[in-house]
């Protein structure tokens, strides 16, 4: 409690002075900023990808607090507290928040945001963040800014619209900026030797109007699609689920890559829904993206065109994917991919 008082007191003092200080420009303003980064956890394990919210929070300037809630989140909170530049981590230990149901989690966040007088709230544009943050924004009467890829200043943000076919720069006039970030646009943050205070947040114990029933998550030993440094992705050209598994999985293993798929491959049942890369699936930006049997529709490009290096293997030399690929190989994927896999293994 001491740490909490120590942190919140100076901010309140500064807050009182703010109208007079507004004319002093950005250095003064940056001191008034305080950002709450919402972290995701599962079974007490921090989702490492959600630490990217800290990267965005640090870019905003001002104080940076983290927030984590669920059953037994002390260890996760301690881990988040090790990230350099983080001033405080707020944890709420309660099984009511374990599954992140927005009906209870949103009122919880609203209480903590109001108490901390945060100017910015940041979460990843993940299934969790997308489900939760707009509800929080509405309760705070703020217009959320979704899936931002860059921060220009404390109220100006850049985000792709029209499936990445246009880039909008928007300025928010809300007193609290509620933001979701595109994880791949903000460099990964890892716990270091920081030592932020871990404090208990307020728990409004809101009534729940929804219950969690079950989940069915794909189990995989391969890297997580959203954060992998290499991704191999298959499309309709794979022809069947058996062929998809036979051709793509060994290539992924030879490269140490995550497996992705186009919407066509997912709709045809060749791959799990959760592997879909595109506007309506995951957005990835790995070091290497290898598109196999994917034509390159705009909905797919929206999900991968920020990859550092794009390679494509397709038998149609006119496929649009070749217009964005750094290196393209025209040929039958059923011959070329196994050959590539063998050569990668033996090198």
């Amino acid at each position: 409690m001491y740490a909490l008082a120590k942190c919140s007191l100076p901010r309140r003092v500064v807050g009182l002075l703010s109208p007079a200080n507004a004319i002093h420009g950005t250095t003064t303003r940056s001191r008034l900023l305080s950002t709450l980064a919402i972290l995701e956890q599962r079974d007490g394990q921090l989702n490492q990808g959600s630490l990217n919210a800290f990267a965005a929070a640090k870019q905003l300037g001002g104080t940076v607090h983290g927030f984590v809630a669920g059953s037994n989140v002390s260890a996760a909170a301690q881990e988040a507290a090790k990230v350099e530049g983080v001033d405080q981590v707020i944890k709420v230990d309660s099984s009511a928040y374990e599954k992140g149901l927005p009906e209870t989690y949103a009122p919880l966040l609203v209480e903590n945001i109001k108490k901390g007088k945060y100017t910015h709230v940041v979460a990843g544009h993940t299934a969790f963040g997308k489900n939760l943050l707009p509800r929080v924004a509405a309760l705070l009467d703020c217009q959320q800014i979704s899936d931002i890829t860059a921060i220009e200043n404390d109220k100006t943000f850049v985000r792709p619209i029209y499936a990445g076919n246009a880039i909008a720069t928007v300025e928010s006039s809300d007193s609290v900026k509620v933001i979701t970030i595109r994880g791949t646009a903000f460099a990964a943050v890892t716990p270091g030797s920081g030592s932020a205070a871990v404090v208990d947040g307020v728990d409004p114990k809101a009534d729940t109007s929804a219950e969690w029933v079950s989940e069915d998550l794909a189990k995989s030993d391969r890297p997580d699609l959203g954060t992998a440094s290499k991704v191999v992705s298959g499309g309709r050209g794979l022809k069947s689920k058996d062929d998809f598994d036979r051709v793509m999985l060994p290539l992924a293993d030879a490269l140490g890559a995550a497996v992705g798929a186009s919407r066509a491959a997912v709709d045809s049942g060749y791959a799990e829904n959760s592997l879909q890369v595109g506007q309506t699936g995951k957005v990835v930006a790995p070091e290497l993206y290898m598109a196999v049997g994917i034509s390159g529709a705009i909905q797919h490009l929206a999900g991968m065109k920020d990859s550092k290096v794009i390679a494509a293997i397709n038998k149609d030399a006119d496929a649009p994917i070749f217009q964005v690929a750094d290196v393209g190989l025209v040929g039958d994927l059923f011959e070329k991919v196994p050959e590539l896999t063998e050569k990668l293994k033996s090198s």
């Binding site: 489900n131 217009q143 506007q279 393209g328």
Partner: protein
């Protein structure tokens, strides 16, 4: 179980197959003379509502399916489409061209509409393919204080107003259960929308379409975000093709990707 009174918000957007172009002044995307249609995720909402009635999935039956859209006069075209697909009636909230509402404003409008229409289920698309915000359904649920199920791939009705929804989440699916009234947003795998048949298109012309304005709901178009600039994304240059697998490997090594 209560009979369902379903509200289905639909949005008129640039057709998904059209590649949008940024205008010369870099203030917005060019919309004049560009083909528009119903947001694909909203087609799923309409389809699901109609299927719930046709397959008698809800124990209490479906009393009413009302489509609603806020936008210019042309938004009436997509409301007619929704009615041709099976919606009973529609409400058009006139907002002048280029004066688009932000998701929070739409959520406020839908809150009033849901209360007025005595809706107990609102089915929205998970996002519109123009501003890609993915917010309106969640905001509406927050404003109404109703439970929400986003990115639904399966909806089942049980006894005592309970609804189970399977949702698409990162890494798989999750099932939640809540009671009416509630908000559901649709994901691609929920269903396959039907095409409106010609006889149904003709019938839809006779269905009721109420015309309203934001003022009728006691609202005005309050903007919280100012668009400073809209630009084209940095173009990506293809790097050419290689002859064989060895060429591919050596090029990838040269680019530092292997």
């Amino acid at each position: 179980m209560s009979a369902l009174r379903i509200l289905v918000p639909v949005k008129r957007v640039i057709d998904y197959a059209v590649k949008p172009r940024v205008n010369k002044a870099q203030t917005a995307v060019e919309t004049a003379g560009v083909k528009h249609s119903m947001n694909p995720f909203d087609e799923l909402s309409v389809e699901e509502s109609v299927r719930i009635r046709e397959k008698k999935r809800a124990p209490g039956g479906v009393e009413d399916i009302c489509a609603i859209s806020a936008g210019p006069a042309k938004a009436q075209d997509i409301l007619r489409t929704a009615m041709a697909m099976g919606a009973d009636r529609a409400i058009h909230v006139d907002v002048k061209e280029g004066d688009d509402l932000e998701p929070l404003a739409v959520a406020k409008l839908l809150k009033k509409a849901a209360e007025e229409q005595k809706s107990n289920l609102v089915i929205l698309g998970k996002q519109s393919i123009d501003d890609d915000a993915n917010q309106t359904g969640q905001m509406l649920a927050g404003l109404l204080g109703w439970p929400q199920a986003t990115q639904a791939s399966k909806i089942e009705f049980g006894e005592g107003d309970s609804v189970s929804v399977t949702k698409e989440v990162d890494g798989g699916v999750e099932t939640i259960r809540a009671k009416l009234p509630m908000i559901i947003t649709t994901d691609l795998r929920l269903n396959e929308p039907r095409y409106a048949s010609l006889p149904n298109i003709m019938k839809a012309k006779k269905k009721k379409l109420d015309k309203k304005t934001l003022k009728d709901f006691g609202l005005e178009n309050e903007k919280r975000l100012k668009v400073l600039k809209v630009s084209e994304p940095a173009p990506r240059q293809g790097g050419g093709k290689v002859e064989d697998v060895d060429g591919l490997i050596s090029k990838l090594k040269e680019l530092g990707a292997l």
